[in-house]
Assembly symmetry: C2
Homo-oligomer: 174 residues x 2
DNA sequence: ACATTATAGTTAGGAAGCTAACTATGTCAA
DNA sequence: TTGACATAGTTAGCTTCCTAACTATAATGT
C-alpha cells in the first residue's frame, strides 16, 4: 500500500479555477475540485498512517504484508500471492520480505513440492508486533472517522465506487 | 503531489474484518472499510493520472510545478514557494526544477535583490506543454467524475472535510 | 559593527517503488 | 523425451521521494 502524490497543500481557489476554465473550456470546475480534494485528504491520511506505524518501527508496505499473512489460516503465503494482493511487483515484494525477515517478523520456508516457490510464514515475533500495532491503529482510526455516522460512511463508499467506475476514462485511448 | 501507498487490490472481506475485530475489539469495522476504500480509490486515481500525464512525457510532480507557475500572474515563483505549495521539501523541488529546466519548460532567473534566491519562470515551451496536456486532462477528468452530480460532489467534499478534521487523531501523542 | 540567527538553495546519501533481465524449475505437446 | 513456453523468485539499475548537512546571503540585536 503505497500512495505517492503531491500533497496539494495549496488547493486552487475558485478564482484560479475559473481563470483556468477560461483558457481551457473543457474544465469541469466541480469535478476538478472534488478530484483534488479527494487526493489531498487521501494523501494526508497516508502520511498520518505512516507516522502512526513508524512509532512501532514499521513502514506501510511491511505492515501490510504482516496483515496479509495474518489473514491466512496458516499465517503463510507466497511472495507472488502477497505481491498480487498488495498491488506491488514481485520484485518489490522481495525487498519487503527481506526487510521483514531481517527483523525476524517473517521467515522464508523452502518447500519440496515446487522448488521454485518459497513460503512466507508469520513468526511469533511478527504476531507480537501486530498485536502491539493493531489496537493502536484501530483506536486511532475509530477516532479519526468518528465524524461520519454509519449512513455517511455508506454514502461515501457509494460515491467512491462511482468515481472508481470512471477511472478508466483517465487512461483510455481515445 | 505524490501519493505512495499500497494499492490494496485485496480489500478485506467482511468475514476477515470480523475475524480481526475478534482479536482486536477496538476495531471499528465500518471505519476501517471506509478508510481503506478511500485510500484505494485515491491511489488508483493517482496511478491513472500518472498514466494520463506520461503520454505527454510528464510526471505528476513536474506537471504540478508547471500548474503552480501558470497560476501566478507573472508565471514566476521561487523554489521555496513552489515547494511549500506543492507540499514537498525544498530538496525535492530542486530535483523537479532540474528536470523541467533540462526539458526547457522552466528557466532559472537569478535576481539581484536577494542573491540567495532564484526565480523560476515558465517558458513559452512550458506554456505550450500545458496547453497540450490540460485540455486532455480536463476532458478525461470530466468523464471520470460524471457519475457524481453536483449535489453528490458537494456531499463528498463535506465528508472528506470531516475525515480531514479527524486526521490528527492518527498521529496525536496519547 | 559585528556576532548570532534565519533563510534560500543545493548536495549527498538512504528508502522503496518500478521495469527488465536473469536463474531455476515446472508444464505441455509434438 | 525433449523443445518451447510458463512461472517463481531474485537481482540490477533507474526514479524520486526523504532527511541532514552544507554554502551563501540576509536580517537582527546588542
Amino acid at each position: 500500500m503505497f500512495l505517492i502524490m503531491l500533497e496539494l497543500k495549496d488547493l486552487p481557489t475558485t478564482g484560479v479555477l475559473h481563470k483556468f476554465a477560461e483558457r481551457y473550456p473543457d474544465a469541469d470546475i466541480t469535478a476538478v475540485s472534488s478530484f483534488l480534494h479527494l487526493l489531498r485528504v487521501a494523501t494526508d491520511l497516508s502520511i498520518a498512517l505512516d507516522a502512526c506505524l513508524s512509532k512501532h518501527g514499521l513502514l506501510q508496505g511491511r505492515w501490510w504484508v504482516l496483515i496479509l499473512l495474518m489473514r491466512e489460516e496458516s499465517q503463510t503465503s507466497t511472495p507472488s500471492m502477497l505481491a498480487s494482493k498488495a498491488g506491488v511487483t514481485r520484485a518489490t515484494m522481495t525487498g519487503l520480505i527481506d526487510g521483514l525477515e531481517q527483523g525476524g517478523l517473517v521467515e522464508r520456508v523452502f518447500t519440496k513440492s515446487d522448488r521454485r516457490s518459497v513460503l512466507i510464514h508469520l513468526t511469533v515475533a511478527g504476531q507480537v508486533k501486530l498485536d502491539a500495532v493493531m489496537p493502536d491503529y484501530y483506536q486511532r482510526l475509530r477516532l479519526c472517522m468518528k465524524g461520519l455516522n454509519e449512513a455517511q460512511r455508506i454514502q461515501l463508499e457509494q460515491m467512491l465506487d462511482l468515481i472508481n467506475a470512471g477511472i478508466p476514462e483517465l487512461t483510455k485511448q481515445k
